[in-house]
Structure formats: structure tokens, C-alpha cells
Symmetry: C2
Subunit: 418 residues, 2 copies
């Protein structure tokens, strides 16, 4: 079979489906999402059987226990997928929303209406639940989706997609709105990334290596973040109890995610008092601390943080700590080493809070709150399809609205240009 | 001189400038824009002398009279550049605008604040007025700009930029906010297009060939339109006088621009009556008509329009005409051959007007108005930096707001995630 030809056919069919889907009313999309939730539950045996094939192959290949755990689908996983579908059905449909409208001096009424992007390609690693989540969000926002999951999950993903497609057909929605690429070859991805006349957006979800490979090859716009090197700056005026609590939460609550804290910046005036208190709780939770010279004069038993540490996204229980002379230095550090993801200031000073919010141009900037809130659900977007640190189109957590664009709609009564 | 090293230095300096510029108040930016208008006027002799060098070289090279005309700067051109600067100063500053803010159940106040994109690269052809226009719009929206004009305008562009930079310095704004690439070699563009860590957005302005070359090479997101194949659909219920007037305006008023009409779709029920009336006025204005078979049964003396004509952007006084059986056929034609730029329906039927606005997903969709209104100024955006037919980030005419993105700002009082 010619992979190139099949991928192109998938993309062409997705484009045709996207045009029909863009016109479908919210009620039809919601009914399909609810039906999908039911069907996944009813056909769980089939999904689990197909997933077993993937798991067996993964074990044969000697994949790590952690990877096999992420790959495995149980009744509980399916229940949670179904729940996700029902939650997306309950979200407001962004399509067709007129976000503003104004009258021109010549009488033209000019408005902006949200419309789907068209066809979205999602490239992701092992977790098969992404197949359901991404399909649901794309469907709700009127976009056709082409899914390219990890090769180790291919049977699971194809099984899930076949159920979702059955429901689309039963619901008189275009079945090709949701398609899984049936190849595990890398060539399939390369081919897909060239089809900029059919596919409007690529969203890679996975490690930095995967994302860099996608960006390097893609002719299609890519929305992504390479990494999240998130900072907390503890200002001289901070409530130190709050600072200890927030720092601990940001680092420890879930260290393996992109909005976890990686570097702690501490104002010199409170470093002597704050650092030992913060370190005690962090070290108790197993956090390995690395510090600048000044930090190590206060926390004597920790390792040195070097130039290599400042831009690091550890994604584990390691934290680099730097004592800074001023807020200017803190902001300069963030500009130099940050990843435009998420930064928080802990302060009681009104002017410093406002200045930090205004001057730090990362995608999410907080005052007196944990970096872990940089998340579509937590910010109230209702869902999250990813986080962008590219400024174009979407910057920060992306919800349903970020899967749409807007066109100009204009009501005239015979106007011509003079 | 090592072009690569110089371009990289320009980009690094633009990045540093952009960070300072992002924090500058509107008053400072406006004062600089007004001062630039004055300085350009006061130093017009210098600009015109440098422009003469370009014009002389262009004549020696045998460039067409039309190209030399576009290149030439007169006192009148400078007056119009100065006027443009004053108009941009009068526009509202999009930076810092909080477009929405909401409270989460845990008390977090979450808002979205508009911020500059950062560094914008503009690649354009001969007209030196773009140097001023683009600089003004980027400055007002808090972005540093790197300008790469046509090689034939290099002395003019450098002269203008030096004046603008002088004003920046006198105004205590970062002088490197506006830079012109001082090389005419193609290598300069290729190098610039690789610097995705310094430059946030590329906007090419010019012919399709230029734009395709930029897209093919760029690692930086590009906002562009290749062409504008704009359609008018004259519905069965159209007010035929209005349809004649609008068709004539859309084709004839300025045929060389991207929002001019290229294909006329006519409902079969009114073709017999409408086509001769429309053709009379068009032909009187020198429009060369090409038609489908059905059109040619009505307008007997015109040439055949072939499959090659439907996707054509003529940019001159040529119009292809097709008789369609229904609105479905008109929409299908637009989907197949259109460029997602601008389409208009002429109708008296309420349902058809609404359906056309909802179902045609081009960047600008009009009812009973000329396609020529698809323009930033005409739509009330205050200015236009370009038109996008790429759905990401901006779709349709782009004003100042499209030169910004938005970050999340979050006011907390100690929230941690549980």
C-alpha cells in the first residue's frame, strides 16, 4: 500500500468532512458526543481486547512498566473517557458566535463570527485517551481531526476511532470527521506534515523531541510549547507562609507536568528567613535542591546550580533556587532563561504585583497563586487541547475557542466603494 | 562583512528593543509618531536625494516606467507618509487592553490582556511608503520591526529608517525598534527567516511568487494571502440594478488589488435579464469577459472561460462569468476554486443572505455590498497591515489588534491546586 497516497486521501476526506461539519448545529454535535460516551461504554470489551494486543506487543518489546501503565485501558479508563465526552457535550459551542458587530459611516454592519479552523492534525504519544479527548474537542468546535498516536497504541486507537466513526454515521455527521492514521511508519507523519492545503493546524502533544521533529518538518502551522520552565519570584514583601505553601504546591503536587515549578527566585531581603522554611518542606517531600552561590550560603548542604540548570525543565523533584537583588533582576532572569510558559510572583506590594503582571510577557502570569493553575480547566476554559508558548493565534492554555478563527460578516444594502 | 552575523545581530537587538518597547506608555509612542511625521517633512530633501540614487540605478537597470513610478518619492509622497503617521498616532493603542476577566470558584480572578507579539519581520517590494506605514503600525502596537524592502529601494528605505531611528532616540524609545536590513542579497532574507527564536512573525507583502518563496523558507510563522479570487453571486432574487452597480464597482474601481472581483456567479433564473445589463456597463469600462457555456448562450460574443480561468486572479480588467443552477452550486464553486479571501451575495432573500453568511467560510463574506470593502480601513480597523487567508491568528484584513496576542493575567490570594 502506498502510504503517501493513503495519507493524502485521508486528508482530502477530512477536508470534505470539515466543510460539512462546519455547518452542523450544536444539537447534532452534542447528541453525537453523548452517544459516543454510551457506545464506548457498551463496547468496552472490544476496546480492551484490542488494547491487550498493544500491551502484549509492548511487553514483548520490553517497554518500561510506566509506559505500559500509560498504554493500558481498563473499564475505569473507559468510564473516564465517556465522562470526558459528556463534559465536552455540556460546554458551549464556540462556532457561529458573533464576538462583535459595528456600524460603519456608510451603513455597512460589520461583524466577526467564530468559525472552525477546518482540519486539525494531532500528533501524540502513547496515552489512548487523547484519541477520545482530542476527537471530542475537535468535533464540538466543528473541526475534522486526523489523529496520529504512538505506534505502541495503534490497535487501541483504531478500535476507539472505529466506534466514534460508527456514531458519526448513525448521527448523520460526516464519518471522516474523525480519522486515525493506520500506519506506524514515520513516513506517515512526514507526509501528513506537507499537506498544508488540506490541514489547517498541527498540535503535537508529547516530549520536546517529538515537538521539535514536528516543527522542523511541518509546512502547516504548528501550535506547541517545547517546555515549561516555570518560575516563582518571592518578593521582599511576600507573606512567607503563603510563599512556602505555594512553592511547595507548584513543585510537588505534580512534578512531571509543564506547569510545575522549575526555578525559584528569592529576593535577597527575605532569603535568610524564607529559604530554610521553604527548603524544609520541599526536602521533606523529596525535592532535591540546587542553588546559586548566595542560596548555598543559606542552605549549606545543597548542590550548586550552574548555567545549565537555569533553562532546565526537570519534570521531576529537582528545584533550582536563585537569590536575586531586585525585581528587575528577577524579571531579567525570567526573560533570559524562561520559556514564556508560566510565572508567579508572591508579594504583598501592590505596585510590584501590577508591575509583574504588566511586564512579564509569559503566556500565564500570576500573583499569589500556584503555577499549577496554568491549565485550561483551572482557568475556566472548560477544556484544554494543549498549551501554546508561540504567540501566534493562541498563547497559553487553549480551550475550544482556540480551535476556531473568525471571519468578517458584512450586511450591506447596496454599498459600493468610491 | 558576514551577512549572517549582521542579520543575527539585528534580530538580537530587535528582540532586546521589543522587550523595552512593550512597556512603553501610549503617550510616548504617540509623541514619537507625531515627531516622526514632522521630521520626515523637515528632512524631505535628504530623503528625495537618497531616493534619486535608487531611481537613477533603476533607470540604468531598465526597470519599467510603472516600477519607477512606484519607487519615486516626491514632496507629495512624503506629505502622505507624514499624514499616515499622524493617523496611526490617533488610533487606540491595543496593548494592555484587558479583553475579559472572570472569577473562578476558588476566587482566582482570571483575565486576558493584549500584549505585543514581539518582533515582526516585514518583507516587501518596491514602494518605500511601506517602510513608514509598517514602522508606524508596529511601533504603535509595541512591536519591534525588521524591514526588508526591495533591493531597488534600498537607499530610500535606509534614509527613511535613519530618520525614524533618530526620533526614537530623541524620544527615549529603543532605537532598534525599527531597523532596515542593509543588504540587498537574497541570503539576507534566508538568514532572517531562520531566526525563530528572535522573530515572532513574518508578514510578506507583494506578489504570489515572493510570498511562496518566503513561506517555503521560513521557520517563523508567516501571515499571508497568496491571492484573492473574489466572487460575487447574483442570486435569483437579487435587485438587478444593485447587482449591476456592485459588480461594476467590484471589478472596475481598482482592478489590480486583491479584493477586486475575479469571478461572477449568476443564478440561472435571472441570467437572461441580468447578464446583458451587467455586460454592457462592464464592457463599456473595458472589461474583457470570459464565460461558461451557458453564459455564452446569452452573451454571444465573449470568449470561453475554461477550468484554468476559475482559480485565476487576473488583477486586470478581465472577468470570468458562470451561470449556476442554485446557491448550492455557487457555494460549491467558491469552495472549489476560491482563495478564502472575499465573497459577496447579491440577494433580496433573507434566508439566502443568512445562509451565505453562515456557510461561506472565506475571511470576508458580504451581503449586498462590493468585495472592495474587504480592507482594514473600510471595515473600521483604523489601519491595515495586510490581509490573511491563513486561518491561524488572523483571518481577513489585519489591523493593529492583529499585531498583538494575549496573555492570561491571574490575581490570586494564596490559591494552591489540590
Amino acid at each position: 500500500m502506498d502510504i503517501h497516497a493513503v495519507i493524502r486521501k485521508i486528508a482530502e476526506e477530512a477536508l470534505a468532512a470539515s466543510r460539512r461539519l462546519a455547518r452542523m448545529p450544536e444539537t447534532a454535535k452534542n447528541a453525537a458526543l453523548l452517544r459516543m460516551a454510551d457506545e464506548l461504554t457498551w463496547r468496552s470489551e472490544f476496546i480492551i481486547a484490542e488494547n491487550k494486543r498493544d500491551v502484549t506487543l509492548a511487553k514483548d518489546k520490553g517497554l518500561s512498566a510506566a509506559m505500559i501503565d500509560r498504554l493500558m485501558i481498563t473499564e475505569a479508563t473507559i468510564k473516564s473517557m465517556a465522562q470526558g465526552l459528556r463534559e465536552v457535550a455540556a460546554l458551549p459551542d464556540p462556532v457561529g458566535k458573533v464576538t462583535s458587530m459595528w456600524r460603519r459611516p456608510n451603513g455597512l454592519m460589520v461583524g466577526r463570527m467564530r468559525i472552525p479552523l477546518g482540519v486539525i492534525g494531532i500528533i501524540y504519544e502513547s496515552r489512548p485517551n487523547v484519541t477520545v479527548d482530542a476527537s471530542a474537542l475537535c468535533l464540538k468546535s466543528g473541526n475534522a481531526v486526523i489523529l496520529r498516536g504512538g505506534s505502541e497504541a495503534i490497535h487501541s486507537n483504531l478500535a476507539i476511532a472505529s466506534i466514534l466513526q460508527d456514531v458519526l454515521e448513525q448521527s448523520s455527521l460526516p464519518a471522516k470527521s474523525i480519522q486515525v492514521i493506520p500506519f506506524t511508519e514515520r513516513e506517515a507523519v512526514s507526509t501528513m506534515l506537507q499537506l498544508d492545503e488540506q490541514i489547517d493546524l498541527i498540535i503535537p502533544r508529547g516530549g520536546e523531541e517529538l515537538i521539535r521533529a514536528v516543527v522542523a518538518q511541518s509546512k502547516i502551522p504548528v501550535i506547541k510549547h517545547y517546555k515549561g520552565v516555570c518560575h516563582i519570584f518571592v518578593d521582599a514583601s511576600a507573606d512567607l507562609d503563603m510563599a512556602v505553601r505555594i512553592t511547595h504546591n507548584a513543585k510537588v503536587q505534580r512534578p512531571g507536568v509543564c506547569n510545575a515549578l522549575e526555578t525559584l527566585l528569592v529576593h535577597k531581603d527575605i532569603a535568610d528567613e524564607f529559604l530554610p522554611r521553604a527548603a524544609a518542606g520541599l526536602q521533606k517531600s523529596g525535592v532535591f535542591l540546587k542553588g546559586c552561590e548566595k542560596t548555598r550560603k543559606i542552605l549549606k548542604n545543597i548542590e550548586e546550580a550552574t548555567e545549565e540548570d537555569w533553562p532546565m525543565e526537570y519534570l521531576e523533584l529537582i528545584l533550582s533556587v536563585r537569590v536575586v537583588d531586585s525585581m528587575d533582576d528577577a524579571i531579567a532572569h525570567i526573560e533570559k532563561y524562561g520559556s514564556l510558559h508560566t510565572e508567579s510572583i508572591i508579594t504583598r506590594d501592590y505596585a510590584n504585583a501590577q508591575r509583574f503582571l504588566n511586564e512579564v510577557n509569559s503566556s500565564t502570569v500570576l500573583v499569589n497563586a500556584s503555577t499549577r493553575f496554568s491549565d485550561g480547566f483551572e482557568l475556566g476554559l472548560g477544556a484544554e487541547i494543549g498549551i501554546s508558548t508561540t504567540k501566534l493565534h493562541a498563547f497559553g492554555p487553549m480551550g475550544l475557542e482556540e480551535l476556531t478563527t473568525s471571519k468578517f460578516i458584512i450586511y450591506g444594502d447596496g454599498q459600493i466603494r468610491t
